[in-house]
């Protein structure tokens, strides 16, 4: 059976809606994607496009009681949507690990990083406290924290942002997860540290063999790390292809626009994209038809309907004008 499963993760027709005081909002509408073992899937889109929510849904970490989640999320062939808390917990941290955007707030301030790594190790294995601590030192060494034997007893506030993110990555890798979800892990860091963390992730991917879902709003980061790319807009996938096709033959006007916004190779990388005219639609005022329509320069009459993904399986886009039929 294992041979039949080419994909580690298969997400099909994922919908996430939130009931709010102003009515129900559809944050994710029919997102589907696969992650193969060992590959890096880049998920890109402006802020609010649903990148985080999609992957939190995969982790079973949407805790908002007003959320409605439908679709199918299969990990190693096993359905995760509707799985019990206990089943999810044994997968979380052990088989799928996640690192978050802001290393300043993603560690508990009152425990040493060694304690926090050991907590994860011991949540999933029979290790003793001593063994877990040794493992923590080993992991901190692997992620290149200087002086790991000492760093293991440091509190988060005693480390710089870059060092904290390394510690968070060490923690995420503690159980050799098959899949690592990295939600904008470099966005809160300054440029040189960003580059170091990207290098680190690329190296760890080789050493640990984990597949990575890398969430970012930055096409420049995608260029450096991704194998395949998922472009998201307003809760939908608008284009998916391998990296080469995304950069050389982008089909969706939104992908085009994102590519235009990559800063020159030299100079600082801005934290937010700014060169696309207009703003993403509010979930409360979704345009009927193509959500990108109001900002699109290639808009035609057909765009008043919602486009589906079309094209050969390896490269699909959701656009009536430029998508392949």
């Amino acid at each position: 059976m294992a041979d039949a499963l080419r994909n580690l993760l298969e997400v099909r027709d994922l919908h996430v809606a939130f009931r709010t005081s102003r009515g129900k909002v559809q944050a994710i509408s029919g997102v589907s994607f696969d992650v193969a073992p060992g590959e890096v899937l880049g998920v890109v889109g402006e802020s609010g496009s649903g990148k985080t929510i999609s992957l939190l849904a995969v982790m079973g970490l949407i805790t908002d009681p007003n959320a409605e989640i439908t679709g199918s999320i299969r990990f190693r062939g096993k359905e995760l949507l509707g799985a019990s808390n206990k089943e999810l917990r044994s997968i979380r941290g052990r088989e799928i690990a996640m690192i978050f955007q802001d290393p300043m707030t993603s560690l508990t301030p009152v425990y040493t990083i060694g304690w926090q790594i050991a907590e994860q190790v011991r949540a999933h294995g029979p290790e003793t406290a001593k063994q877990a601590r040794d493992r923590a030192v080993e992991l901190l060494t692997a992620v290149g924290l200087p002086n790991p034997g000492e760093a293991v007893d440091r509190y988060p506030h005693q480390l710089s942002g870059g060092m904290r993110q390394r510690a968070v990555i060490a923690m995420a890798l503690s159980c050799n997860p098959a899949l690592l979800v990295a939600d904008e892990p470099t966005t809160a860091l300054d440029v040189t540290v960003q580059a170091q963390i990207l290098d680190l992730l690329a190296r760890l991917r080789r050493d640990f063999g984990s597949a990575i879902v890398f969430i970012t709003h930055d096409m420049g980061v995608i260029a450096e790390i991704a194998d395949r790319v998922l472009v998201m807009y307003a809760g939908r996938v608008v284009e998916r292809a391998n990296k080469r096709d995304i950069f050389l033959e982008p089909r969706h006007p939104y992908t085009h626009a994102l590519l235009q916004s990559i800063p020159p190779i030299t100079g600082d990388r801005p934290r937010r994209l700014k060169s696309i005219a207009g703003t993403p639609p509010s979930l409360f005022a979704m345009p009927s038809g193509c959500a990108f329509g109001p900002r699109c320069t290639s808009r035609v009459a057909a765009c008043s309907a919602v486009p589906g993904l079309t094209g050969e399986p390896a490269h699909q886009a959701a656009c009536f004008v430029t998508g392949m039929r």
């Binding site: 979380r92 978050f100 707030t105 993603s106 508990t108 301030p109 994860q120 949540a123």
Partner: protein, 324 residues
Amino acid sequence: MLLPVLKRLGDMVVAMFGISVLVFLIFFAIPGAEPASRIAGRNASPETVAAVRLSFGLDQPLPVQYLIMMKKLFITQDLTSFVNRGYKVIPAVMNAAPITLSLVAGAALIWIVFGLLIGVLAAAFKNTWIDRLLMVMSLIGISMPAFWLGAVINLFTQSRWHDYWLFSWVPPLGYKPFVESPKLWALTLVLPCFSLAVGYIGIYGRVLRANIVEAMQEDYIRTARAKGVSESRILIRHALRTSLISVVTLFGLDFGQLVGGVAVLTEIVFALQGVGKITFDGLLNLDLPVIMAAVLYSALFVVICNALVDMLYILIDPRERTDG
């Protein structure tokens, strides 16, 4: 680790000095009635006033007067009352201190245990009937004045139903020193401690619930979930643990104040000669030496409690440790 502790001890000494100067100035240097006749009390004879003037060195410069006062208070400890002839003030305060300390420490133990229990349970069952019930009960506890609760308790246990089996264990009002009878000491304190604690249980329960619920929204809780840590462990080891920091601050303030005499109404209702009661009597009689001693010793308790809490703080919040 040692440096911050020393720093706080230094702060404590400075605070005590400041308070003593301030209190001294209020009684000895404020224009108006002359301190000698105030210390001597109403309707004092000229001889008494003269004796007071001599005893407190009131014809000498202010700094000398301050030193004499401090010597009487803390070194020779022979400050006596003139209103209440021959009443030794410092031993009276020293006898009162263990009573208040027992009362407040007992109450604190009760309110910490139940406050924690209520806060954690309500947060764990957020928005269910358990949460609502606990929060309503807390509110009722907060709105019951401790002295009123004490009076009601006395009504039941001391007079009307004292012989009923449920209350027959309750000893008569008053205080029994621990060294005389540990059992009676504990028994006499149960109800006073409880009635003092009820309001605080409500406050701590609610504050803790709010803090835990807020902490559960933090990014590091999401990280802990992503690690595969169990919900109960997340609640206790992460959310409760970080919430304790602000509760400790609150506790230091409340505990210091109560030990400093704020529990006066409870002391009166349960006939306990505590610090609050002594201060209260001193104020009624306008007995300056008593007021002076009570205020300064209270301040000392408050400052010591705050220093202890600060050290507890260093213990539970690593972020407090690094600065010099």
